[in-house]
């Protein structure tokens, strides 16, 4: 029943180091403010209590998207809209583009950063699911050190990340995609602008008609986004024959642990993991020209 923001202290560090020191000194009481799309709404709804906000918008050099030999690099202040409009993303990382493009609100994409989206640590993130299928790495800075970590290890639970006190995310690295890679992103929603009931990102690398490598990432069906490893195994080394695809889809449905909430039921979500996984692989087959 409340709308106003609660009073808070406001910091505008000029460097990552300064930001990180503030985070270390104030600990749990402060939060990083990037676009503020998610954070401010939560404060208004009194879901979280903060005493201070560390706004990183004044730190130079965090708003970029570029591709080089190491892969696609995204800064902590790069908005979803910038990524959606980037030619590199659209042409070379179609899976990421498709996921971002599926978010309908232009306003949210103009304000919201990709890193902020990932740091919310909701299992429903479309961005996170597609980046998981792309083997993305999180670049993390602490008061005295930097490290990087696979996105896969970044989540500990609902709204919980592996960030240590004093740490913030500075960017994302998406490694170069091997030749013959194809991706498919799919989601089910109540209405187009809603958060996903279930989302699936599949990336497969094909060589000579065989599936050399594959990632199946699933969202909204467990406390964190998850990889369906058994399902991946069912596809790896096959020629994506229909039986293998069906088998993989069944396994994926067994691997997840969905719940019933206001958006959908556990039963439906499990069933849809099967349907979407199958459809995503079939879409890849069509795109790659794989028969059968």
């Amino acid at each position: 029943m409340v709308r106003v923001l609660t009073p808070f202290e406001y910091f505008e560090p000029k460097t990552v180091e300064e930001a990180s020191n503030l985070l270390r000194d104030y600990g749990e009481k402060v939060r990083v403010l990037a676009g503020g799309v998610d954070l401010l709404a939560r404060i208004r709804r009194r879901e979280i209590q903060v005493e201070g906000l560390v706004c990183i918008q004044r730190i130079p050099g965090l708003d970029y998207v570029r591709q080089d030999s190491e892969g696609l690099k995204i800064g902590a202040l790069t908005t979803l809209r910038t990524l959606e409009r980037s030619q590199e993303v659209r042409e070379n990382y179609r899976l990421l583009f498709d996921a971002i493009h599926s978010i309908h609100s232009i306003q949210v994409k103009n304000m919201g950063t990709a890193v902020g989206n990932l740091c919310i640590a909701t299992p429903a993130s479309d961005v996170a699911v597609s980046l998981l299928a792309l083997d993305a790495q999180m670049k993390i800075a602490g008061p005295s050190s930097e490290r990087s970590m696979p996105l896969e290890n970044f989540y500990l639970g609902v709204k919980r990340t592996a960030l240590q006190p004093g740490e913030l995310v500075t960017g994302i690295l998406v490694p170069p995609l091997p030749k013959g890679s194809f991706g498919a992103f799919m989601k089910l929603v109540r209405t187009a602008t809603d958060i996903a009931k279930v989302n699936v990102a599949v990336r497969a690398t094909l060589r000579n008609g065989g599936c050399e490598e594959v990632r199946i990432a699933l969202g909204s069906v467990a406390p964190t986004i998850v990889r369906a490893r058994k399902a991946e195994e069912a596809l790896r080394g096959t020629r994506l024959e229909r039986e293998a695809v069906v088998e993989a889809a069944e396994r994926a449905a067994e691997e997840v642990n969905p719940i019933t909430d206001i958006r959908s039921t556990a039963e439906y979500r499990r069933e849809m993991v099967k349907v979407l996984t199958r459809r995503a692989v079939e879409k890849i087959k069509v795109e790659a020209g794989v028969k059968g």
């Binding site: 029943m1 309908h104 089910l188 187009a192 958060i195 206001i262 439906y268 069933e271």
Partner: protein, 768 residues
């Protein structure tokens, strides 16, 4: 060439109505700011049912910046009816019993107001709420119709035994239904559940109140029924009506939700206590969990037909899921019977409705007032009957629709005009009904289906309610007029429509009609905006007032020109002799010299009129849709809508089209997405904002929408117009439900038709 200058022509919103909205300058109730204004906030019960044993407000009162804290002990202990007990039911004579206190000593739903504060700002007000200590004695609570009707259910109100707020028999029953069923060749029966729906207007509920040193109360409120609101407030505070002025600024949507009274008395009580203006603005969460929703109803229908499709008997039993207070559910439930049983010609009808109290958010009116509910049920029953009889659904409806002169759906007065049959025929043709149904194959993952619904609604609620509106029109020196009227303007652009009516009669441009509105002190009585009445009822008052003003204008001109008034006419701002158009005067010349008459015979050319409608001209129509159902995911995509509407003569095609598009959107939401979720254990509304409660947006609209107007004048409407605001959504959900059945062969008896429910139903069907 049309015989009219303005009527029937697309007209963009009047500048004064449209420009402030698109530039963001429009003042809504939430924008009202007065010097020294305080912020009011409401402490609401966290319990669905609880006695308040003790309230201690002393800590809150001591907080610096707090100007007043009120509990039930500080407020007149007068019961009121949120839907205005004085809305007289002309036919039945029943009035809603007052069952609600401004601040309560017994909470009956999660959100029931128990205390209120006024403070210097939002922060202090919020802090103060936390400092009010309330000791509750929680009582057992019931959240569903079934639980509330159990013999050992807790009693929510002392006056309502068994939690029955009302038991109403269908007042227009005919013949003998049992005999009818016995004579029928085919009987279909079904029980359906139609859900709550939220108005979901963008502007939150709000109110600002100010009491001046003489005791005069001014209230800014988005209420759709300003005069009934004033009367109810007068009763609560034992004030004469004249001591209250209700001001209605622009209204940011309402859809029926704002037919009732909400935080107005709390704001007034706080303003009385502090001597300062007090403004209360709801959060979205408060809007979703405390404003009246569309009622949910469990409806059983039985219908008997002859082999040739003639409907000969129909019976309905309705359980209306009211909330903690009877509110508008008290009327909406029983009126559902009238829409359902009165739509088609039927010699034997019978029905009853139980309105059931529960410990949930009050339910009441929303666009259509029971008709989308009735339509969802009865139009599916019609399709079930058509299948059983082996008759095309289109033919079955054509066989049973009423003709002009037969009794209307809302009672014994005759239908003034109806072209429902024409609507159905045209719609069927436009969507390709017969071809597509012949070609259809039921195979593959994605299956298409066609569905339809026929519709009859009302233009104002006569003879159920008194339908009284007034208008005043006065000429200015420049030949323009002020039109002083006061229905509320919830975004339907009826200023423009009403200005077109006045302009047509007066021979001026609609932009020369300066609308003055928005306060009970300035305008004569108007019941308000409800029941698709504004164009039909207020429009007739405007037309009468314009006729009177025109009579005076021509009389004055006749003296100035030396010809008789009968020889004169007025067009494009000029009065002239019919036989010799060169001989004439501009309206400005006439008006100016009448106001500033050097001979000492000054007066202001003006007209005023009250219109008390004694007619019912039901708008009718037909909705056709094509949908695609994904049988693996259960998703429904609405591909196309064809709406054929008979709303009499269309005054402004642009605004009517807008209403129909909006109706399709709201109907799609009702059919497929909108789900009002109340926690079964706590009674808390879980779908309490736009994130959790989904309405349809542009993305859910069908790619193809065809809107066709019959555009034939009704004998009683102004220039032949009938209502259209509510009809726009009435049959949408029913058509979708029928199309889903056509696509996949399963009928879901509960809205919203979600993918989850579809898959479950498909699985059950497979199992056999």
């Amino acid at each position: 060439m049309s015989e009219f200058s303005w009527v029937g022509k697309p007209h963009p919103p009047l500048k004064m109505e449209g420009v402030p909205k698109v530039t963001g300058e429009a003042i809504y109730t939430v924008d009202v700011k007065l010097p020294g204004m305080l912020v009011g906030k409401i402490l609401r019960s966290p319990h669905p049912h609880a006695k308040i044993l003790r309230i201690d407000k002393s800590k809150a009162e001591r907080l610096p910046g707090v100007k007043a804290v009120l509990t039930f002990e500080d407020i007149p202990k007068v019961k009121y009816a949120s839907s205005f007990r004085d809305m007289p039911m002309a036919t039945s004579g029943t009035l809603q019993p007052p069952d609600q206190y401004v601040l309560t000593d017994k909470a009956r739903y999660v959100g029931d107001p128990v205390a209120a504060v006024a403070a210097v700002d939002e922060y202090v007000a919020e802090e103060a709420l936390k400092l009010i200590e309330v000791e509750y004695e929680p009582l057992p609570a019931v959240f569903t119709i079934d639980d509330a009707l159990k013999p050992d259910a807790p009693q929510i109100h002392d006056h309502a035994k068994g939690n029955i707020a009302a038991h109403v028999k269908y007042p227009f029953a005919q013949g003998d239904v049992e005999k009818g069923f016995a004579e029928a060749d085919c009987v279909v029966e079904g029980t359906f559940f139609v859900p709550r729906q939220v108005g979901a207007h963008l502007e939150p509920q709000a109110c600002t109140a100010y009491v001046d040193p003489t005791g005069k109360v001014t209230v800014w409120s988005p209420c759709q029924l300003t005069f009934p609101l004033r009367r109810e407030l007068a009763k609560i505070f034992s004030l004469p009506e004249g001591m209250i002025n209700v001001v209605t600024p622009f209204v940011g949507g309402s859809f029926g939700t704002r037919l009732s009274l909400y935080c107005e008395p709390i704001a007034i009580a706080l303003a009385m206590k502090t001597g300062k203006p007090v403004k209360i603005v709801h959060s979205k969460e408060e809007d979703f969990s405390t404003l009246e929703t569309r009622t949910a109803d469990r409806v059983t229908v039985k219908a008997g037909f002859k082999k040739d499709g003639t409907l000969i008997a129909m019976q309905m039993k309705v359980y209306t899921w009211a909330g903690a207070y009877a509110a508008r559910a008290y009327l909406a439930g029983p009126i559902l019977l009238m829409w359902g049983l009165g739509h088609y010609r039927c010699p034997n009808t019978d029905g009853e409705c139980f309105v059931v109290y529960t410990n949930t958010t009050p339910a009441g009116a929303m666009r259509g007032y029971g008709n989308p509910e009735a339509s969802t049920v009865v139009e599916q029953i019609m399709d079930m009957a058509a299948e059983k009889l082996g008759i095309d659904p289109v033919e079955l409806r054509l066989k049973n629709v009423k003709k002009a002169g037969e009794p209307s759906n809302l009672g014994p007065c005759p239908i003034e005009s109806t072209y429902e049959d024409e609507c159905i025929r045209i719609g069927a043709e436009r969507i390709g009904w017969w071809e597509k149904r012949k070609l259809k194959k039921q195979e593959g993952v994605k299956r298409r289906g066609l569905g339809m619904a026929a519709m009859m609604h009302c233009s104002g609620a006569w003879p159920l309610l008194i339908e009284h509106s007034s208008a005043m029109i006065k000429f200015n020196e420049d030949g323009s007029v002020n039109m002083i009227i006061n229905p509320a303007f919830p975004g339907t652009h009826c200023w423009t429509t009403l200005a077109q009516i006045a302009a047509e009669e007066l021979g001026i441009s609609p932009e020369d009609v300066h609308v003055v509105t928005g306060s009970t002190d300035t305008a004569m009585f108007d019941l308000g905006s409800h029941a698709s009445r504004t164009t039909y009822v207020t429009g007739n008052a405007v037309l009468e007032a314009a006729r009177e003003a025109k009579r005076q204008l021509l009389e004055r001109a006749s003296k100035m020109l030396g010809v008789s008034p009968e020889e004169l006419t007025v067009k494009d701002g000029r009065v002239f002799v019919k036989a010799d158009p060169s001989k004439g005067l501009t309206i400005g010349e006439i008006a100016r010299s009448t106001i500033w008459d050097l001979k000492g015979e000054s007066f202001n050319i003006s007209g005023k009129a009250s219109w008390s409608s004694r007619y019912s001209s039901p708008p009718t129509g037909a909705y056709f849709t094509e949908v695609e159902v994904d049988t693996e995911t259960g998703e429904v995509k609405v591909l196309k809508f064809v709406v054929v509407i008979d709303c009499g003569r269309v005054i402004n095609p642009m605004t009517v089209e807008g209403q129909i598009q909006g109706g399709i959107s709201q109907g799609i939401g009702y059919a497929l997405y909108e789900d009002y979720v109340i926690n079964k254990k706590t009674g808390v509304v879980e779908s309490d904002n736009f994130n959790t409660y989904r309405i349809a947006t542009n993305y859910e609209m069908p790619e193809e929408i065809e809107i066709i107007f019959i555009n034939k004048p009704d004998p009683k409407g102004p220039f032949g117009a009938k209502g259209v605001g509510e009809p726009a959504m009435v049959g949408v959900a029913a058509a979708i439900a029928n199309a889903v059945y056509d696509a996949i062969g399963v009928r879901l008896r509960e809205l919203p038709i979600t993918p989850e429910k579809i898959l479950k139903a498909l699985k059950e069907k497979e199992k056999g």
